[in-house]
Amino acid sequence: MRRRIANVLRMEWAGMARTPNSLLYLVVIPILLIGQAVFLSWVIPQFVNPELVGMEPPAGSGLTAVDMFRLLILAQFPFFALLIPAMIANVNATQSIVEEKTTRTLEPLLATPVRTWELLVGKILAGAVPALVAAWLSSGVFVLLVWLLGWGHLLAYVVNATALVSLVLLMPAVTVLSFVLGVIGSSRARDAKDAQTWALFVALPIFALVAVQVIGFVRLTPLSTVVLSAGLLLIDAVLVRGAVRLFGRESIVIRWR
């Protein structure tokens, strides 16, 4: 079993290494998201007077109004960072499945002793692990950049318990969700572009999550992040079951177009 899953993993990763798009997504998406968070934190206070916005620093915190303004943006990064695995995992999933469809390699694969769930697990691991690693590395790079820019005193407010729970629980849950939606979308799609529209189903709630936090409608705590992650993991479990059924031999050969 492990040999067959490892075989899928090796081939998937070899395929990714030969696909400029996959590598580009792994690098470009994190750079864009880190860049926009840092850039906005730097540039907005140059043009907007934070005191006019009325953000009062907590008494005795030693923070300035500019720091408060900056924090408002920086503190959203752990949630913006969810877009990194969401987008990369989705791209990996769609490329992996759509390539199998366009090259017509699925039926010969299904004629080998590999079980379809082994194939799916191999593909999920191959697509999700790089996405998750890229997201975690990006979070590290983000913290390093914030410190290098002289905003180290703000890190205690950014790298808090909520952010850590998000990294450890929410991020893997979003990654798997995105990959599985990619698989489901790809089973009906004719090409990668068509399949990637499913990424919206993951990206939109993440944008919504960031928006409701910025306007102060909801403030995620460590506990609410755990609850949210648990809910997502539950949805993942249901969707993975659906994907396994969709990924059955018979389903692939008869229903996939």
């Binding site: 067959r4 070899a14 395929g15 090259t103 017509r104 080998t112 002793p113 031999r249 018979e250």
Partner: protein, 307 residues
């Protein structure tokens, strides 16, 4: 080696294969003929453990493909209609990937032997994208041989190939049969079926006929001899018809010198017919057996089924 018993597969309201029963023995190539949508690919998929039958049963190399698909895959090789490769990878890397799913297989050795068998060893490290359609099809055949299966399912192996590539692939298939493998060959190429297959199954959702090509021909068409006679008369035709071994005798349509005679057995009765015609004073110009191609047999069977 292959045994199917009332295999049936329905897709919703549509029946793709209906009550198909047959057997194929060791070292036999059994041809599957039938028009598009006749259920050839569905039959192969059921036997290869890709899809399950709605009803009926099968055993392939002693394994039930519906109950133990993964186990049956260890004993069979499936050549799908379209070769299907990861084109950015080399031929060897593609084969190594597929070989990696079989238990206890020395991958490097299996890949080397498979490439040798189909004559592509010198192209092992070339990307599949650079291969011609014929080479890809040979490579696909190599993929089916990686684990040395006892049974091969070949779905339209020569479709879309140029005559040279098709001929080379046919020679390869014949060699594989010579090694004792059982082969189920689905094809639209009737000449190919006649050249390669020991028996032929004509399918149109259900099994219309299953026999050797010669037997199908004899069953479908009465043995016929065409005779060219310089001085053919109605009296000669009547005298010929009176012979006990002649079932039918008539003037050939549009040919005043042509006589068409149906015999009970061409090889046995032809000398007697010639002797009788000479005795009747006929000026014999030509006597030849009316050869019916497998295509005639196939079309006749399918039309009969349509009626």
């Amino acid at each position: 080696m292959i045994q199917a018993e009332k295999l049936t597969r329905r897709f919703g309201e549509r029946t793709a294969v209906d009550g198909l029963s047959f057997q194929a023995g060791e070292g036999e190539i059994l041809g599957l003929l039938g028009p598009n949508g006749a259920g050839k690919t569905t039959t192969i998929r059921m036997l290869a453990g890709i899809i399950a039958p709605t009803s009926g049963a099968a055993t392939v190399a002693g394994v039930d493909p519906a109950r133990e698909p993964e186990r049956v895959h260890e004993h069979v090789g499936l050549l799908t209609e379209s070769p299907g490769f990861y084109e950015r990878f080399s031929a060897a890397r593609n084969l190594a990937y597929f070989a990696g799913f079989y238990p206890d297989l020395d991958i490097r050795r299996a890949v080397g032997e498979a490439l040798d068998a189909i004559g592509l060893a010198d192209r092992a490290d070339d990307k599949v994208a650079t291969f011609s359609r014929g080479m890809k099809q040979r490579l696909a055949l190599a993929r089916t041989l990686l684990h040395r299966p006892q049974v091969l399912f070949l779905d339209e192996p020569t479709a879309g190939l140029d005559p040279e590539a098709a001929s080379s692939l046919r020679a390869l298939i014949d060699r594989l049969r010579g090694e004792g493998r059982t082969i189920l060959l689905s094809t639209h190429n009737l000449a190919e079926a006649e050249a390669l297959c020991y028996r032929i199954a004509v399918l149109r959702t259900r099994l219309i006929a299953l026999d050797r090509a010669d037997s199908l021909r004899d069953r479908q068409f009465a043995p016929t001899v065409r005779v060219q006679i310089g001085n053919l008369t109605e009296a000669m035709i009547a005298a010929t018809l009176a012979e006990p071994y002649v079932t039918e005798a008539s003037r050939s349509v549009g040919d005043p010198n042509g006589l068409v005679v149906r015999l009970t057995d061409v090889d046995r009765d032809r000398p007697a017919l010639v002797a009788r015609l000479v005795a009747l004073g006929a000026e014999l110009l030509e006597v030849r057996e009316d050869e019916r191609s497998l295509e005639d047999v196939y079309l006749s069977l399918v039309r009969e089924e349509e009626r």
